[in-house]
Amino acid sequence: MNAKSPIVEIRNISKSYRRDSQNIPVLEDITFDIAEGEFLALMGPSGSGKSTLLNLIAGLDRPDSGSILVGGVDIASLSESGLAGWRASHVGFIFQFYNLVPVLTAFENVELPLLLSGLSRTDRQEHVNMALGLVNLSDRMDHYPSQLSGGQQQRVAIARAVVTDPAILVADEPTGDLDRVSAEDVLALMDRLNREMGKTIILVTHDPVAAAKARTTRHLVKGVLT
């Protein structure tokens, strides 16, 4: 497969939010491609629409107009449950606040996306062990999120994002809540996922140090991509 072929093709998408009776345009006529295997950093001032754009690419939200093709599939045309199924197998999510389920152990959190996959228990176990090994937390798998540091929680979240082996990882300020050292760990991990496992990564960040890890950086200012 050609590493340069686009995995994400964004065509003329617009998105606005309605607040009271006012229409607030956030993204206006954005068109761009993301190549397969890319590690893209998306920067821009607060409120410029970075999270909105990321949500659209990841199939968490729908554009008002335009189309988004991911791996050749027009995700805007999928039904709600079709989209949910597509997300579960194609995209891994990493959030600023880790978003682990507090009543589940590290192991159980990582297992979550696999519960919908129809894999057997032993297969799931194998995948979870592998993912936790990858983030170097095999010894913490029975810990609950409250028993882990922020950096460790984020690594569990990364394990959860990759456990289904998705082609694309989206991360919305994954280091925004971490100290420098933990942030370095997380970024190094993402770098490895990109280089060694060929994951396409889209990283939204405010942090120039984080953006420096990516291979490409794009700026979103007032709904326009540069």
Partner: protein, 385 residues
């Protein structure tokens, strides 16, 4: 199953909140159960009354007597098997607060007719032979520590003087709802004494109790008896024992309606408590549900989590409520034994508990679940608690 595990752990995430919610459900259900049992006890006399017995009293009011001479006339009515009679005596044992119902009854017929009061033949014989003999229910005997042969004085209120009785029999109830706290003695003892002291009040009967051959003809017989004494000095009112008992209760109908109402208000209150808990819980977890949705969990699974948690809370309350109703009713019954001679929890009440808990559990979860499902992922993820 995963959802079940999650429901279980989520339910006890806020232990204090969950415990308080369950506690309020338990208290409400037990209160509901006790109120219902009070109503049931109120009607116990009616339920226990026999369909083959009629009561004849003075048409003006219960406090007006009937002549003893009516006995033979009533006996002559077609379909009448036995005629017994008696007077409300209204005696007091030592102190007014020791209240119990006491009657002077025709010793030859009364226990034949009231076959749910069980006496051994020996006790019955002893009672019949002793003019001053009396028979009491076993609950009453136990309360005052009376034993066969004891002498029991009653202070008369309607019939002045101190009346001495000797305990000859202790009856037990045939049914669970038979009143075991009554006191009976020979009508003849009352009448013979009155003949000497107040001759004008002698040979008067407070009520007749009639046993009929065929309960199906009871209504005809009541009409026939009353027709006998139409236009006489003391007209009668005859009705089935059930109707007779109900006429006592109807006086307090308003109270019963009030208790019924309160028992339903109690259910509404737990609905509000549970709904509040679920609303709080689900609102706190808005972002968590968005994460589940992000990972591909659909509306059905999210609903299962929320309804499951709500139902687990209310059903736990239900089970504890059932378990605690018996000791609560026992304590209540002991404390108020004088007013409610029969205080038995109706097992059907537990079906009502279960139905109410189910209803409350579902109702409490509907609105939060609907909100959790409706909110978009993007919006849910933006929520910071």
């Amino acid at each position: 199953m995963f959802i079940l595990k999650l429901v279980l752990r989520n339910t006890f995430r806020h232990k204090l909140r969950t415990a308080l919610t369950i506690l309020s459900i338990v208290i409400a259900l037990v209160a509901f159960g006790l109120l219902r049992t009070v109503i049931r006890s109120w009607y116990a006399g009616v339920e226990a009354s026999s369909a083959s017995r009629l009561v004849t009293r003075n048409a003006i009011s219960l406090t007006f007597p009937l002549p003893l001479s009516y006995r033979d006339k009533i006996r002559g009515v077609d379909g009448v098997k036995t005629v017994s009679y008696g007077n409300w005596f209204g005696g007091i044992y030592k102190d007014r607060k020791n209240f119990f119902a006491n009657f002077a009854v025709d010793h030859k017929t009364y226990f034949q007719l009231q076959s749910e009061f069980i006496l051994t033949p020996q006790e019955h014989d002893a009672f019949v032979r002793d003019r001053k003999g009396c028979v009491v229910g076993q609950k009453l005997a136990k309360k005052f520590g009376w034993e066969i042969g004891d002498s029991i004085p009653l202070e008369g209120t309607i019939f002045p003087g101190t009346w001495e009785f000797v305990l000859r029999g202790i009856y037990t109830g045939k049914e669970k709802n038979t009143d075991e706290s009554l006191f009976f003695f020979q009508w003849d003892y009352l009448n013979e004494t009155l003949k000497k002291t107040m001759p004008l009040r002698a040979d008067k009967v407070g009520f007749y109790m009639i046993g009929v051959n065929d309960p199906g003809r009871a209504v005809d017989i009541t009409v026939a008896v009353d027709r006998l004494f139409k236009n006489s000095l003391a007209e009668t009112l005859t009705e089935t024992e059930k109707a007779f008992q109900l006429s006592f209760i109807s006086m307090s109908e308003a109270v019963i309606i009030a208790i019924r109402l309160v028992s339903f208000v109690v259910i509404i209150i737990i609905m509000a408590v549970a709904a509040n808990t679920m609303a709080m819980t689900v609102r706190e977890r808005t972002r968590e549900y968005a994460v589940f949705k992000t990972l591909g969990f659909g509306a059905f699974r999210i609903m299962a989590m929320i309804f499951g948690e709500s139902l687990l809370i209310t059903m736990t309350g239900c089970v504890l409520g059932v378990v605690l109703t018996y000791p609560a009713a026992g304590a209540f019954g002991r404390a108020l034994g004088d007013y409610f001679p029969v205080f038995e929890v109706d097992k059907n009440i537990f079906a009502v508990y279960a139905a109410a808990s189910l209803l409350v559990g579902i109702t409490a979860a509907v609105f939060p679940a609907w909100k959790a499902i409706r909110i978009t992922i993007a919006e849910g993820l933006r929520r910071i608690e």
